[in-house]
Symmetry: C2
Subunit: 243 residues, 2 copies
């Protein structure tokens, strides 16, 4: 298979970085590669905050739950869903803009994710390592204040970038037969059971710390509490009312 596909299949989160800096021109090219992604109705509903201030990097590392690599990576980006730019542009042409539709939250969040995934792959194609930071949604209001995000903009996730200083294993994924379904949704419990065994074996041999658990078991902390229960109120306050 071609090496673009090989590159994608070899992705793993990198959390330890060398001191080597990323040239400014390369960073711009990564963002341009991101912008090449498809965008719903060409709305391009995203902005990226490049956080260079060391104090702000430390603060975000704490707010995201003590993830020190946010401070130590070469570059840290916050990917924001941005409905401010397109709605205001539309308003300036005389449109009576409706805001706060659930569909707009989806469009902006998906646009942002498509764009970011291009940035991730582009970065890896240049030998960089990356790590998505969903933890910025632990304290999204404080981070929005820190980055001076206006209304109709919300931080979806962060991304650490830098030249890797370690080489973590690639985590096995669910069997492709569980994901790709022919014509109709079909139960995939047997594939999940096989995968649980695969993951349990993986955790007993991987480089980055051993543990004895399955994929299914590991999901419990994600689902047996109200994960990030502040998100609804936060989004409404940002102008994403989910109407």
């Amino acid at each position: 298979m071609n090496h673009v596909i090989e590159l994608m299949k070899s992705h793993r989160s990198v959390r330890k970085f060398s001191d080597r800096q990323i040239p400014r021109e390369l960073l711009l090219e990564l963002i341009r590669a991101g912008q090449g992604a498809a965008t719903s109705s060409h709305v391009q509903a995203y902005s990226v905050i490049h956080v260079t201030d060391p104090a702000n990097r430390e603060t975000i590392a704490e707010l995201a739950g003590g993830q020190g690599y946010i401070a130590s990576c070469a570059d840290f980006l916050v990917f924001c869903a941005d409905m401010k730019r397109p709605t205001e542009a539309s308003e300036r042409t005389g449109a009576n803009v409706v805001r706060g539709m659930t569909e707009q939250l989806l469009v902006a969040s998906v646009d942002t994710a498509l764009m970011a995934q291009n940035v991730a792959t582009a970065a890896e194609s240049e030998g960089l390592g990356i790590c998505y930071i969903g933890g910025i949604r632990n304290n999204p209001q404080a981070i929005s204040d820190l980055l001076r995000l206006p209304k109709h903009v919300y931080p979806v996730f962060g991304m650490c970038l830098g030249y890797p200083a370690h080489d973590p294993d690639v985590k096995p994924r669910l069997p492709v037969e569980a994901i790709l379904k022919e014509d109709y949704y079909a139960d995939d419990r047997e594939h999940v059971e096989a995968y649980d065994a695969t993951m349990q074996a993986y955790y007993q041999t991987r480089k980055g710390g051993l543990k004895d658990s399955t994929w299914s078991q590991n999901l419990a902390p994600l689902f047996d509490t109200k994960l990030r229960p502040h998100m609804r109120e936060f989004l409404v306050k940002r102008g994403f009312e989910m109407k």
Copy 2:
């Protein structure tokens, strides 16, 4: 710049396809490349329905607003946010699962988009053309019924894939300076104005039909009506209650 980045910067939606089929093994590799993308807490909250039934393809083409290429492309995929698989797996280990959190809608939608964008880039790296179909959210309940999607699964977008039978122009994107902001969100109106001029010039010379309008003007239909006002009720009914 390297050719992965060049590939991303040359993306354009393809809507006319040759009769050449995509080998099954390549399709599986594209999905595996998709699965290589980062996923929040390794939850892999997505499923992909490969719609092969010609009658269903025709129906979806109609439901998506008369997009005939859904029926005529080599392969049509529906990318679904899937919280059924991980929550049920977690439940089987004894977890008391909480569902319907807004955060879960975001996690599943973003996971699905990251995965799909890898599929898109992987496909293009093999000489295929693709087109995202957000129009499946025009009639998401009918499409969910057609694909027999269970609760806690919703169709985020479709994707047409095939070997291109035309070569559309690449649409200019917003200036990178509008998207990438240093440390704080900053106004980008001057970049939008420059971009409006760029897009107006583009529309007057592009291959795929000429028109005289700016980016800002083109956004009006997206924002001066309640876009897809059924989405909130639809998602709640699917078990994505946005609590």
